[in-house]
């Protein structure tokens, strides 16, 4: 039965939860299919995550391999294919708890970087899992900066082979998933040398383990890099190569080729590579970032209406903690953020699809804008969502700290997203570079891509709001965000120019301005996110209460951003001190309004209890019973040798000299 405190929250929903779920999924058919896939996966005991929180690293790894192998069978049974519409729901249904994710990256890199001949040779082998692939780019001493990689591949014309080497310890490949224990092959990025000349970084297919007995190939040292904050199920690995020879044909040669005589040939445009990076950054947002944030909101908000603490009114029952303004102020902005990012993700996906169509027509004009937006939003979304999950965790007090709440593992998993596929600070600086360039172009009267045309329409002036209700107008707050973005971008551009004109070298000037540049890039993304949310709300259908509640969330998202960064909006007097008090008042009013729909808003995310895997966040709200039952299953409650070995002598006072 459902806990009455949770049940009562659902009776007063101002909108149709099912309609909102459909909106989030993108249509009735998508919702149906997602539920079907989730049901098929969750009803299969091999995919159970029931004991996950009690397992060791070795057990987690083994389970992930077992699931990956079983998934092949399952897909066959269900008639699902990697290109089918069901595929994208599988990962969500598994909560990512599966091995061989890098195997797909291995295949994708061959498809993108390999010649037709190479694709024909390797892809069928990989598809049938005759081999297991990984992708070895980062090294112990090198991450973001690809040119700095130290692994070498020297061409030996006599044998028509490349000789791969790890010249020093910092050059050891480090971190690649599936490489520590599983992979038989990997794509190694190395500095190519022909006749003593370095041609830069190129990709090579290297076999690292025997296909017969899985032992390491001659010259290869590989293993697991040891325990991490999360991803215990993935064998992130290290790889040391000593005079490992591979045939000339193993260099992936769609764009660059080494001929038998050692001639180096470049062919085609590498721009498509940028597009791949962009695709990867955008594709991780949904599964790796939004899903954990939405799960954390679901757990924390449901728990906050079940948990009662202290009294709000004397003589009454203890209050639900969600009725405290401070608790609302922690959780509801995270909920609004989850919705805002869901819609910005839709926007980015659409942009990406358009970009893809253009590229098919050999038009690469959209690439710089796509690159800037994907970099900036990857950074902003991962950072805010990670912070959001952590807030949810801490908002659950002591019980949030238990692994059984599900929140610690959501947090440790999402926070990795701030680092992989581009470290966030570096990505923001890439966005900033684009913004500065566009600002210069605008100042010179040249055309710029659509997302930055606002830089041309600089309207000096003041925020027109006269009372707190005015701040519920999307025009008012969107313009305030725009103003801040323009101010930060233009002032940083001016600062850069000043430095350069005063004789500072360009790169030094850039480094001097990087703190400001990062702020400018964030302001740009924040503005686009607010604007996109407001425009999305505008287009929603008005029936079933959906538009109304989304408008509230949009307002909250926008005002929360102003409230937590008042300095940026007060600076230069665009917003006055009195107006800032209005923002605060409107913002706090909104918390109380959204509070009423908080539970339906997380119900709409439509996570099953199995997928939440949380003693605090289940749909029925039977928090305490579940916590007690789960705790009893803990291995620490089996008899421990510690008593006989240490406690007994201690208690029986047989330790000397106490």
């Amino acid at each position: 039965s459902v806990n009455p405190d949770l049940a009562s929250e659902r009776q007063t929903a101002s909108f149709s939860v099912e309609k909102l779920t459909t909106l989030l999924d993108g249509g009735v058919e998508q919702t149906r299919m997602r539920r079907m896939v989730v049901e098929a996966i969750e009803s299969d005991p091999v995919f159970s995550r029931e004991n996950q929180y009690f397992q060791t690293q070795n057990e987690r790894y083994e389970a992930a391999v077992r699931k990956a192998v079983h998934l092949q069978k399952k897909m066959h049974e269900m008639g699902w294919t990697e290109n089918g519409p069901e595929y994208k729901y599988i990962y969500r249904a598994l909560s990512g708890d599966i091995a061989f994710l890098l195997h797909r990256i291995f295949m994708r890199s061959i498809s993108v970087l390999g010649s037709d001949k190479q694709i024909a040779k390797w892809i069928p082998l990989a598809t049938q899992h005759k081999l297991i692939g990984s992708y070895a780019q980062t090294e112990l001493g090198h991450g973001t900066y690809l040119q700095g990689l130290e692994t070498t591949a020297v061409f030996d014309a006599a044998t028509q082979e490349f000789i791969l080497n790890t010249p020093k310890i910092s050059a050891m490949k480090w971190w690649p998933g599936d490489m520590g224990r599983s992979a038989t092959h990997t794509v190694v990025f190395a500095q190519l040398y022909i006749h003593g000349k370095c041609y830069g970084i190129h990709p090579f297919i290297v076999q690292i383990r025997s296909l017969q007995d899985h032992s390491l190939c001659p010259g290869v040292t590989a293993g697991d890099i040891g325990p991490k904050m999360n991803f215990e199920h993935i064998d992130n690995g290290y790889l040391l190569l000593k005079n490992v020879r591979i045939p000339r044909e193993n260099m992936l040669s769609k764009f660059c080729e080494v001929r038998p005589d050692g001639t180096y040939v470049r062919q085609g445009s590498q721009k498509i590579n940028y597009f791949t990076m962009t695709t990867v950054r955008i594709s991780l947002i949904s599964d790796e970032v939004l899903t954990p944030l939405m799960k954390a909101c679901t757990i924390a908000i449901r728990y906050s209406v079940v948990r009662r603490q202290s009294k709000l009114k004397p003589g009454e029952q203890e209050a639900k903690i969600l009725d405290y303004q401070t608790q609302q102020e922690k959780l509801l902005p995270q909920l609004a953020t989850a919705y805002a990012f869901h819609f910005i993700n839709d926007y980015l996906q659409e942009l990406l699809n358009r970009g893809y169509r253009e590229i098919q027509r050999k038009n690469f004009d959209m690439l710089p804008e796509l690159h800037a937006l994907s970099s900036g939003f990857k950074a902003v979304i991962t950072q805010h969502s990670t912070a959001g999950v952590e807030i949810c965790l801490r908002a659950c007090g002591g019980h949030g700290y238990s692994l059984l709440s599900g929140l610690p593992s959501l947090y440790t998993k999402i926070l990795a997203s701030c680092i992989y596929e581009g470290e966030n600070t570096i990505l923001l600086l890439q966005t900033a570079r684009f913004l500065i360039k566009c600002f210069m172009a605008v100042s010179a009267g040249q055309p710029v891509p659509p997302s930055v045309t606002y830089l041309a329409a600089v309207k000096p002036g003041k925020c027109p709001a006269k009372n707190k209700v005015d701040f519920l107008s999307p025009d008012v707050y969107t313009e305030a965000y725009q103003h801040v973005a323009v101010r930060l971008i233009s002032s940083t551009a001016a600062k850069l120019q000043d430095l350069i004109q005063s004789g500072v070298k360009k790169h030094d000037a850039w480094n001097h301005c990087t703190v400001q540049l990062v702020q400018a890039a964030k302001a740009h993304c924040h503005y686009i996110a607010v604007k996109n949310f407001a425009e999305t709300v505008e287009k929603l259908e008005t029936k079933a209460g959906i538009q109304k509640i989304m408008k509230h969330l949009c307002d909250l998202f926008a005002l929360h951003g102003i409230f937590s960064n008042t300095g940026a909006f007060l600076h230069d007097g665009y917003t006055s001190a009195a107006q800032m008090d209005m923002v605060t008042a409107s913002y706090l009013d909104l918390l109380a309004v959204i509070r009423k729909d908080a539970v339906p808003l997380v119900d709409a995310f439509d996570f099953t209890d199995k997928s939440l895997n949380s003693a605090l966040g289940s749909y029925d709200g039977q928090v305490y019973q579940r916590l007690y039952e789960w705790a009893q299953k803990s291995p620490t409650n089996q008899m421990s040798p510690a008593y006989e070995r240490y406690l007994k002598p201690l208690l029986h006072n047989t330790l000397s000299k106490l």
Partner: protein, 666 residues
């Protein structure tokens, strides 16, 4: 030879420092003699083979518990053998043995024994204290329940007096009343001090403490009527058997109620306690420990991140030149140096609270408790402020180490998971902030009704003066000198005053809407928390600034002054809205502040490594491959990884179980 093996980058950094790190270490320790003694105790532990063990990162939770309990029992024995009795020295010893981690006897030593001393009658002390001192009795302190934490009055466990047998009958009437979280309760303890609602003669007399045996002496099996166990895996605290306890009609003799203050007579008559202000003192003391812990945990994270940033090279700053140390990037400095400054600030705040506490506890015995309410209110907020800041700061340090920070070998994940619960325990932070706010509101009301207030809130007295002289605000604007810490203290003071006043006014507005007091308070609580934060921030800047005058060495004073300025200016930069909105600083001044922050980053850069060396964490205590004193990061990451459990066999068993059959089938 030892010097030769230090990474060249770190050697260069240390050679370039403008001050002697040992001198700063002495200041942090409270004098050269304290430093010497700390290192002496450190050596006692580190040179003792009994305290060696495998890297904990490679052990399962049960194994970690086992190691901890092994070390704890040895620790108790050796502390007595060495005659270490000073609380701070015990703390050091324990911290070196357990490398900053909690351990299963924490509550026995830190709560069970002290509670016996303060709340037990002489007869009870005779019965329990010596056995507990000798660890025949191991106890814990069972307060929180599954459904109840911060709000003590809400606890549901009952102790009903039965005069016919002269016993209390203990019960956990609901699932939510099950005792949950007490450390050492799950597997270690055989006794617990249980907080329960006392019922006698049909009436509830509120919460009282009872000594409850929970496990059979000899067999360690739970006693009939007792259900006890471990609450399962957590984010951190792997060494600690946090436990649950459910009691079903469990009877204990009347004499097991701690009766130094309140009493139940044999016939069931309840005797009220005389009021007890001492509990205030205990809370202040524990919170001062948390402030100190915030400083230490953040210092450890900074040490790791800054040393690693000096060793790590990445990308290109100048075309054609080798990859620079990542510590040379402005963005990296901007992430780390304000945190370094914060760690120093918190050290001084922790020391201040501890000193003040000791001074006032002297007063307690002589009966002068006038300062206690303010200190109690202030430490609540400072506990919350410092633990929140450190919590976020540790994560920023980890993020600043990129991918390798995510590996457990960096040590930062462990610091984080061990530290983060301090935002919740000993008073949930938001609740703590609101306690401070309550005091601020009370002080504000006093001032508006014409009374003067004293201590850290005395700036509120100025508010009434300002109303008489409205031009004061404008006059204040131009007087802030951003290079002068004393002047910045004034700026923070104005901000605090403004936010306290604004919260008080908003609270009054809510009350004027004829809302109940509680409702009005709740509807103002976001403002109230902001006011408390501003107050705490002011206190910290003030204490840091005051510390500078005490530093005699000129070189050390210069670096500390720069850190203090960075701390104060960065805080202004990040909260610029507050200073702008109140008219304390102008737009132009904020721009200057932002600029000056960046200049200070460059000024502090050459001393960054020396400043973390001054924290003087031993490598064993630091527990980090990235933060090693010698900077030989990469070699040691490889050595560390080779010990990973997944590497125990060359071919993992999963290959034979799963991979091979799959490949055969396809």
């Amino acid at each position: 030879a030892a010097a030769m093996s230090v990474n060249a980058d770190l050697r260069k950094e240390r050679a370039a420092a403008t001050f002697q790190p040992e001198l700063l270490t002495h200041i942090l320790d409270g004098g050269p003699e304290r430093t010497r003694r700390r290192k002496e105790i450190e050596a006692l532990v580190l040179n003792d083979p009994d305290f060696q063990h495998e890297d904990l990162n490679f052990l399962s939770r049960s194994q970690r518990y086992e190691q901890a309990i092994r070390k704890s029992s040895l620790m108790v024995m050796k502390l007595r053998e060495y005659g270490i009795a000073d609380p701070e020295e015990i703390y050091w010893f324990k911290s070196f043995v357990h490398r900053g981690r909690p351990e299963p006897l924490d509550l026995h030593l830190g709560m069970f024994l002290p509670t016996l001393l303060t709340q037990a009658t002489p007869e009870q002390q005779d019965r329990f204290f010596m056995p507990a001192w000798n660890l025949e009795i191991i106890g814990t302190y069972a307060q929180t329940e599954m459904g109840h934490g911060t709000h003590l009055r809400g606890l549901e466990t009952t102790a009903t007096y039965d005069p016919s047998t002269q016993e209390f009958i203990l019960n956990s009437p609901t699932v939510t009343s099950i005792k949950w979280w007490p450390g050492g309760l799950g597997k270690t303890s055989n006794h617990a001090i249980v907080l329960a609602q006392l019922y006698t003669q049909g009436q509830c007399k509120g919460l009282h403490a009872f000594i409850v045996p929970i496990r059979q002496l000899g067999t360690h099996e739970p006693l009939p009527g007792i259900t006890v166990g471990d609450i399962g895996p957590k984010f951190g605290y792997d060494e600690m058997d946090n436990g649950y306890l459910k009691m079903d009609n469990f009877r204990i003799p009347r004499e097991n109620m701690l009766m130094k203050y309140a009493q139940v007579e044999p016939d069931g008559t309840y005797v009220k306690p005389v009021s007890d202000k001492l509990t205030y003192g205990t809370m202040v003391f524990i919170r001062s420990l948390i402030v100190g812990d915030s400083a230490r945990s953040l210092s450890r994270a900074c040490t790791i991140a800054i040393r690693y940033s000096a060793v790590r090279h990445q990308s290109e700053l100048k075309p054609g030149e080798p990859e620079p140390q990542i510590l040379d990037y402005q963005t990296q400095q901007y992430k780390l140096f304000p945190l370094l400054a914060t760690a120093y600030a918190f050290h001084f705040v922790g020391a201040y609270i501890k000193d003040t506490y000791h001074r006032i506890s002297g007063d307690i015995s002589t009966g002068d408790l006038t300062e206690l309410p303010e200190l109690h209110a202030l430490t609540a907020g400072l506990k919350a402020f410092t633990s929140w800041t450190a919590n976020a700061g540790i994560e920023e340090c980890r993020m600043a180490c990129g991918g390798h920070g995510y590996s457990r070998c960096s040590g930062i994940p462990d610091i984080y998971v061990t530290f983060t619960p301090s935002c919740t325990y000993e008073g949930e932070n938001t609740v703590m902030m609101l306690q401070t706010a309550r005091f601020l509101m009370k002080s504000y009301t006093q001032v508006t009704s014409g009374q003067q207030v004293t201590g850290m809130v005395s700036y509120l007295n100025d508010l009434s003066r300002q109303r008489i002289q409205p031009q004061h605000v404008a006059a204040r604007t131009v007087t802030v000198r951003i290079n002068d810490p004393t002047s910045l203290v004034e700026a923070y003071k104005s901000r605090a005053a403004r936010l306290v006043e604004s919260a008080a006014k908003n609270l009054q507005t809510e009350l004027n809407h004829r809302r109940s007091k509680e409702d009005a308070w709740n509807r103002t609580s976001v403002d109230l928390v902001r006011a408390s934060e501003a107050h705490c921030h002011y206190v910290i800047v003030k204490l840091f600034t005051a510390k500078l005058a005490e530093v005699s060495d000129a070189a050390v004073r210069t670096v500390l002054t720069n850190l203090c300025l960075l701390y104060a200016l960065y805080g202004i930069s990040r909260n610029a809205g507050d200073f702008l909105q109140a008219g304390i600083l102008t737009n132009a001044q904020i721009t200057q502040v932002n600029q000056h922050v960046k200049e200070l980053l460059a000024v502090i850069r050459p001393n960054a490594v020396a400043l973390v060396d001054s924290f003087d964490f031993h490598d064993v205590h630091l527990g980090s491959v990235l933060g090693r004193y010698d900077g030989n990061v990469y070699e040691n990451m490889f050595e560390w990884a080779k010990k990973s459990p997944l590497n125990k066999t060359q071919v993992h068993e999963s290959f034979h179980k799963h991979l091979k059959p799959m490949q055969a089938k396809l």
